[in-house]
């Protein structure tokens, strides 16, 4: 059973719908005991980091996520869920986050351009994700598969070794990170067609063991 964490950060039911489509049992939950019982955890979210962290602390879910990470349980972060696993985010002033992965989350700089044209923020739409090396969660995905993004802030891990994939949008940023039993993606696999579904299916079978 996969627990999809509902911490009042946007509509998380689209992740559950994608899992149901794949016949993967899941529960959308905000209860700590469900997270402890679940074999795997998906940590999604859309919205702002400040509010998300407030909710996570108030509900005690912040501790549960950390606990799950320590326990070796497979964990998948999506979008805002990915951003709050870093030490801090530049959003809402400076938001202290869960700190599961060293590094921060930064705003796309103003004035980024591509081919002479100014780029719009948020980064919204389909973009290429270049995976670095093999990982069970990214198995079977073409090297430059495109995924759907919606975000104004991007993950900036301190350790290059945590970067699992990169994407270009005026700058090159880490669109996926991986460390041990944790994989976190900035894009939305639940809205990324076939390849996104493949990623979710891979995660539903992953035992959390190290890549390569």
């Amino acid at each position: 059973m996969i627990a999809v964490v509902d911490y009042r950060a946007g509509n998380v039911t689209s992740v559950a719908r994608a899992l149901r489509h794949l016949n993967v049992p899941c529960v959308v939950t905000d209860r700590a005991e469900d997270l402890r019982r679940a074999g795997r955890i998906i940590f999604p979210g859309v919205g702002a980091a400040g509010e998300a962290m407030r909710n996570l602390r108030e509900t005690g879910l912040a501790g549960c996520i950390g606990e799950a990470f320590e326990s070796g349980k497979p964990l998948l972060g999506i979008c805002l869920g990915t951003q709050v696993i870093f030490e801090y985010s530049e959003e809402d002033g400076r938001t202290e986050c869960l700190g599961l992965i060293p590094g921060g989350v930064r705003r796309f700089p103003a004035g980024i351009r591509e081919g002479g044209d100014p780029l719009k923020i948020p980064h919204m739409g389909w973009n290429r994700v270049s995976f670095r090396g093999a990982h069970p969660v990214f198995a079977g995905l073409p090297a430059n598969a495109e995924f759907y993004f919606v975000h104004s802030y991007y993950p900036a891990p301190s350790n290059g070794a945590d970067v699992a994939a990169e994407t270009e949008y005026g700058i090159r940023f880490a669109s996926a990170v991986a460390r041990g039993n944790l994989v976190a993606v900035q894009f939305h696999p639940e809205k990324s067609g076939r390849f996104g579904l493949r990623l979710l299916e891979n995660f539903s079978r992953w035992d959390g063991s190290h890549a390569q």
């Binding site: 039911t13 719908r17 591509e114 044209d117 100014p118 923020i121 980064h123 739409g125 639940e190």
Partner: protein, 259 residues
């Protein structure tokens, strides 16, 4: 590099497509869920549903359509048509739509943009604009005016002013429909699209007029649109989405590969 999006638009009334959608080698499809599934599989980057239902019973049918679409396709889709209140927005978003588009409802009550962005995030709120070319005047300096009711009612609002106002109010995207080009199959309104797309910082979807694949190339390159809305060109089987994307790739436009 971000791909330019190709977005089929499906008009729905009382839960049925208003025009049949014909796929190559297939019979006509009147079911919006099935049409959405086919476009999804063909490589559409997003799908727009426009609900032209008038009655409130029809609205409930549309919510049911949205729920079934959300269980069938796994790309973003938006729903528009008759959205006037925050509750209308909440209904389609909870049913599974990624985005909701407001048009005349926002002209009448611009606060719905702000309220919608605060409740669901800017990325959920699309401003639909129906625009008609008029004489330039002190009131309409861009020479493009906002109209509603299919172009029958002029609102005295300058299109460029309204686009920037909506951006400031919190709209995350603009779907720009030229009433003059709509249905002509003679190409998008390039001048209008360029004017808006280069003056706002949010993405602009060009709508109205696509009849040939060259039209998409023009609007995505010369007119700087971020996405192209298409209807007849795919509904009547003139081209598949794959053919359009192959043509655009050949023209140097980055689009999502169809696998």
């Amino acid at each position: 590099m971000l791909s330019k999006r190709i977005i089929p638009c499906l008009d729905v009334r009382d839960g049925k497509l208003t025009k049949g959608v014909k796929f190559k080698g297939n019979v006509d499809i009147g079911d919006p869920v099935e049409a959405a599934r086919q476009y999804y599989e063909q490589g559409a980057d997003e799908i727009v549903f426009y609900d032209i239902t008038a009655s409130s019973e029809g609205r409930d049918i549309m919510i049911d359509v949205v729920k079934r679409v959300a269980e069938t396709i796994f790309i973003p889709f938006s729903v528009g048509g008759g959205i006037r209140t925050l509750e209308d927005m909440r209904g389609v978003i909870l049913a599974g739509a990624e985005k909701v588009s407001v048009n005349s409802g926002a002209v009448e009550n611009p606060r719905i943009i702000t309220d919608g962005a605060a409740a669901f995030g800017s990325q959920c709120v699309v401003l639909g604009m129906d625009v008609k070319k008029v004489e330039k005047s002190a009131r309409i300096p861009s020479g493009y005016e906002i109209v509603i009711q299919g172009g029958r009612k002029h609102m005295g609002l300058d299109a460029l002013w309204w686009a920037r106002e909506a951006e400031n109010l919190g709209a995350g995207e603009i779907c720009l429909n030229s009433i003059d080009a709509d249905g002509t199959l003679e190409g998008y309104e390039l001048e209008l699209t360029h004017l808006i797309a280069t003056r706002v910082k949010i993405p602009v979807i060009a709508s109205g007029g696509a009849g040939k694949k060259e039209h998409l190339l023009d609007v995505l390159t010369k007119a700087k649109a971020d996405a192209a809305l298409i209807a007849s060109i795919v509904h009547y089987g003139t081209h598949t989405i794959a053919e359009l994307k192959e043509f655009l790739t050949g023209g140097g436009v980055k689009v999502r590969d169809v696998w």
